[in-house]
């Protein structure tokens, strides 16, 4: 939030409503910018934070997620023309993950659509989209308003997240099924209960929830969860730990795994949802949507690239590695977009964009990895097998009600 005492040019990054709490717990003072806000990269250690996601509960401040309120008589028609999925099936109380493309069928962004009521929706996106949303609204009776600053958001993710919320007094949260949302109340010590919108969504591939609230309620909610979580190994986490979890879950991150067609400068660096393994989100049968004709043509001739999961030999993450068909490294077929050692799978995993011809599950590629050993660089050509994604998908992420701990 901008304050009067400090002009905006002295604080070019906004602070989220959780900022003071996060700063107090940040041992490394490691902050990074995200959509115009400053957010925590690492609180204490990436590993500790990661294991909070997989073994207990984590709190992650996702207020910078860009949010739009989309309402009006044509809101559904607008969203169906904007995005590739058939949102006509999305009932109030449900959330859908979807993507949208430009006219050429190239991906602009992905995000979630919350159906809040008949013809009232919230669109959560990684990047700002107002220009494209406005262009898409020409000819539609729809009102689009960015509400990012009006809504604080906190992800509560991990196997004990449901229990944590219940213990904090969020009654009935265990009945939420994946991709459902609902209105809940959370009691707290210093006033009347806080009203929350809770959705069973997340970016970790684990059991988890996202809490959406008024910025004024952000600190009481944080305090209440940290209080009941004191004996439950709850940790606030930063973006680095989340990144490992999302790679394990096989989720894509804009700017890393694809560049939005709204930002690409070089021809040929755009990617389509078919290339990104998101064909399941593209509903050709629902009627026209932006990019449909281009995507049909692409589907007919076959995508040029394909996003794949890789199981890389050794333990060193194949960050940015170029990929080859053979150890000789003569024929280059793509590169790694995201890589991590997966502590849970005990595998060296990566997401990579490769030529479509090399994307068959089970085929072997070779990754060119550079290692810095005390400033002595080593180059290793290691085998990387194309494997199914996600790398990690525990059954608990779908179980309703979730297990009690």
């Amino acid at each position: 939030m901008l304050t009067e005492s400090e002009p905006h040019y002295r604080q070019p990054l906004l602070k989220t409503p959780f900022h003071e709490r996060a700063r107090a717990l940040s041992q490394l003072d490691s902050f990074i910018p995200w959509s115009g806000y400053t957010t925590v990269d690492v609180f204490t250690s990436v590993e500790q934070e990661y294991f909070a996601v997989r073994n207990a509960s984590s709190l992650y401040d996702l207020t910078p997620m860009v949010k739009y309120r989309i309402a009006g008589a044509d809101a559904l028609r607008f969203l169906n023309r904007l995005t590739t999925r058939d949102l006509g099936k999305l009932r109030p109380g449900r959330v859908a993950y979807t993507v949208w493309c430009n006219d050429e069928g190239h991906l602009i962004d992905d995000g979630t659509v919350f159906c809040l009521g008949p013809n009232e929706y919230r669109l959560c996106t990684a990047e700002r989209q107002l220009d494209w949303l406005r262009a898409s609204a020409i000819g539609f009776d729809v009102e689009i308003r960015e509400v990012t600053e009006e809504i604080a958001a906190l992800a509560v993710q991990g196997p004990t997240s449901c229990k944590l919320l219940k213990t904090a007094g969020v009654q009935g949260v265990e009945r939420l099924k994946p991709f459902e949302h609902g209105a809940f109340a959370m009691p707290h010590s210093s006033g009347p209960p806080v009203s929350l919108l809770v959705s069973r969504t997340g970016f970790t591939g684990d059991l988890g929830y996202e809490l959406w609230m008024s910025p004024a309620d952000a600190e009481p909610v944080w305090d209440a969860l940290m209080e009941v979580g004191r004996t439950r190994a709850v940790r606030p986490i930063g973006s680095r730990a989340l990144n490992i979890a999302r790679i394990e879950a096989g989720f894509l991150l804009p700017r890393l795994d694809f560049v939005s067609a709204a930002h690409t400068l070089y021809l040929g660096t755009e990617r389509s949802p078919l290339e990104l393994g998101l064909a399941w989100l593209v509903d050709f049968g629902k009627g026209h949507f932006t990019g449909r004709r281009a995507l049909l043509a692409e589907a007919a001739r076959g995508p040029r690239h394909q996003l794949v999961g890789l199981d890389v030999a050794g333990q060193k993450p194949a960050h940015n590695a170029l990929l080859y068909t053979a150890r000789s490294g003569r024929k280059e077929v793509g590169s790694v977009t995201s890589a991590a050692w997966s502590p849970t799978c005990k595998r060296n995993i990566a997401l990579a964009m490769v030529d479509a011809a090399c994307s068959t599950i089970g085929s072997t590629l070779w990754a060119d990895i550079y290692l810095n050993r005390e400033l002595v660089w080593e180059r290793r050509m290691v085998a990387a097998r194309v494997v199914e994604r996600p790398f990690y998908a525990p059954a608990r992420r779908r179980a309703t009600p979730p297990a009690d701990f």
Binding site: R77, R81, L82, N102, D103, W132, A135, S136, I138, G139, F140, G287, H288, T290, G291, R292, R293
Partner: protein, 524 residues
């Protein structure tokens, strides 16, 4: 839709001259064609209608000079009853105190009396212009190529364009490249001295556009006008007004087997399985066809008749940002008698009279338009069609038809056009009265069509003659917008043939002809 499939191969939305030309060619090509015209008579903006009891006028376009003779021959217009009341009409730049300047076929000799230097420069310029026009004319009468495609037709068209330009020779090509992007004001300053001559030439460059003489792109529009009618500009007036041309075009289409329905307002272009499948009329009637060709302007076609939900968002944005607001008004005067223009010969009076005393006069007139005001001293193109065609008015009476610039689509100030229509009409009459002192007393009745009126009457979004501004970024290969070039549209089965397409409007008919040829090729 019956089991036997639609009754028509092609439905053409709009019976303006381009729609009719397209229909005539398609019908000759063996298609079953239905033309649907919203008005009670065909013609669109090339129409003759009554504006005061007993007085008729060509309501929008009022002269015929851009339609290529080859088109008129191919469509047998003469056989089908098109007669010219007058041809090779002269133009006269009106000067103060009867010092007028005759332009046209014998312009150099007339000019020599005023300025021998300008007479020579004018002859040079006309010669250059006709060489450039001859080289550029084929560009207008063919489908523009697309860049970066593998299609042989595109590559051949680009090669042929390059070859034609190269054949101009070093000196003409250099001059074309030098002046092509200039404003007409600078070009005229380079070549001529007489303000009256420069004003008249500048008028031709900016007529029907959103430009003043100092606007970039105005040499392009001048070249465009010359290229559309290579050789000397053959200004002609059809007997019975421009409506007679449209009726001849309709007869040409019908004689080739097309059907033409008037009072048929198309409300919606129907889409089935992502293909144009016909149209729905305002009456609710649905008519199926394999293809739909729209001669309506791009905004009307895509945003209103088809609907944004059938189009990609980026394309819709481009269409909605198309510059298509008219700056040109039309004034019709019913005259009790022929007003006297001191200093004008009877022959000159039958032609085109230009009120554009200098490029600066036009630029000043244009200044107002930038701020959504009407010109306080407007630029005028005047004809008195009843001199050659007395049938347009009761015996002994006359009609004056005036093209007026500049008259913005949106007017600043309270009331907008309803409050300013009559004062502006009076202003135009006063402006003309400087050259014809008794004009005011001759006026029985007047009608002013401002751009919003043109939009309403002729169903042209924005009321622009050319449907879309003639500007480099809306020209040739990118006209009207990328994604809808080559007479195609993003929706399979939907095509364009109106003035919004290459090469533009101005009762030329080439958009309709090119579109028909592209469609016939597509099917082949």
């Amino acid at each position: 839709m019956s089991a036997a499939g639609p009754r028509y191969d092609t439905i053409i939305v709009g019976g303006g001259h381009n729609g009719l030309v397209c229909a005539a060619y398609l019908a000759r090509g063996g298609r079953s064609v239905l033309v649907l015209e919203a008005a009670s008579q065909v013609g669109g903006a090339a129409v003759t209608r009554e504006f005061a009891p007993g007085f008729k006028v060509s309501a929008c376009a009022h002269l015929l000079h851009l339609m290529p003779p080859v088109l008129m021959r191919e469509l047998d217009l003469e056989t089908l009853g098109l007669k010219l009341a007058a041809a090779d009409l002269p133009s006269t730049a009106l000067g103060t105190d009867g010092a007028h300047l005759a332009l046209g076929v014998d312009a150099p000799s007339a000019l020599a009396a005023h300025s021998p230097a300008d007479a020579a420069a004018y002859a040079d310029w006309q010669a250059l212009l006709s060489r450039l026009a001859a080289a550029l004319h084929p560009v207008l009468s063919a489908t523009p190529p697309r860049l970066g495609t593998e299609a042989w037709r595109d590559q051949a068209a680009l090669l042929s364009l390059g070859w034609r330009l190269r054949r101009l020779g070093r000196s003409d090509l250099r001059e074309l490249l030098r002046i092509g992007g200039m404003c007409v004001h600078d070009l005229l300053e380079d070549r001529f001295r007489l303000p009256l001559l420069k004003g008249a030439l500048a008028l031709d460059a900016v007529l029907g556009t959103n430009y003043g003489p100092r606007s970039p792109g105005t040499v392009l529009t001048l070249l465009y006008r010359a290229a559309a009618a290579p050789g000397a500009a053959r200004l002609a007036q059809p007997l019975g007004g421009l409506g007679a041309l449209s009726e001849a075009l309709a007869r040409s289409a019908v004689s080739a087997g097309a059907e033409v329905r008037t009072d048929a307002v198309v409300e919606r272009i129907l889409v089935r399985e992502d293909r144009a499948a016909g149209v729905r009329l305002a009456s609710g009637e649905e008519i199926a066809s394999q293809t739909v060709v729209s001669s309506a302007d791009p905004k009307t076609t895509f945003l209103r008749l088809l609907g944004c939900e059938h189009l990609d968002a980026g394309f819709v944005r481009r269409v909605s940002q198309l510059r298509s607001r008219g700056l040109t008004a039309k004034l019709h005067l019913a005259l009790s008698q022929l007003p006297e223009f001191p200093g004008l010969t009877p022959a000159a009076l039958r032609g085109r009279l230009l009120v554009a005393p200098s490029p600066d006069y036009i630029e000043r007139a244009y200044n107002h338009a930038k701020y959504n005001e009407v010109s306080s001293a407007p630029m005028l193109e005047v004809t008195i069609p009843t001199l050659a065609d007395p049938s347009l008015a009761p015996g002994g009476r006359h009609v004056m038809s005036v093209i007026v610039q500049y008259a913005p689509y949106v007017l600043a100030g309270a009331g907008g056009w309803p409050g300013q229509r009559q004062p502006f009409a009076d202003l135009v009459i006063d402006t003309l009265a400087r050259y014809a002192p008794g004009l005011g007393d001759c006026v029985i009745s007047s009608e002013l069509l401002a751009p919003p009126d043109i939009e309403r009457e002729f169903r042209i979004s924005g009321g622009h003659w050319h449907h879309a501004e003639l500007a480099l970024d809306q020209f040739f290969m990118v006209r009207p917008v990328p994604g809808a070039t080559q007479y195609r549209s993003p929706l399979p089965g939907l095509f364009l043939c109106g003035a919004g397409c290459h090469p533009g409007g101005g009762v030329m008919g080439l958009a309709g002809r090119n579109a028909a040829q592209a469609l016939i090729r597509e099917a082949a």
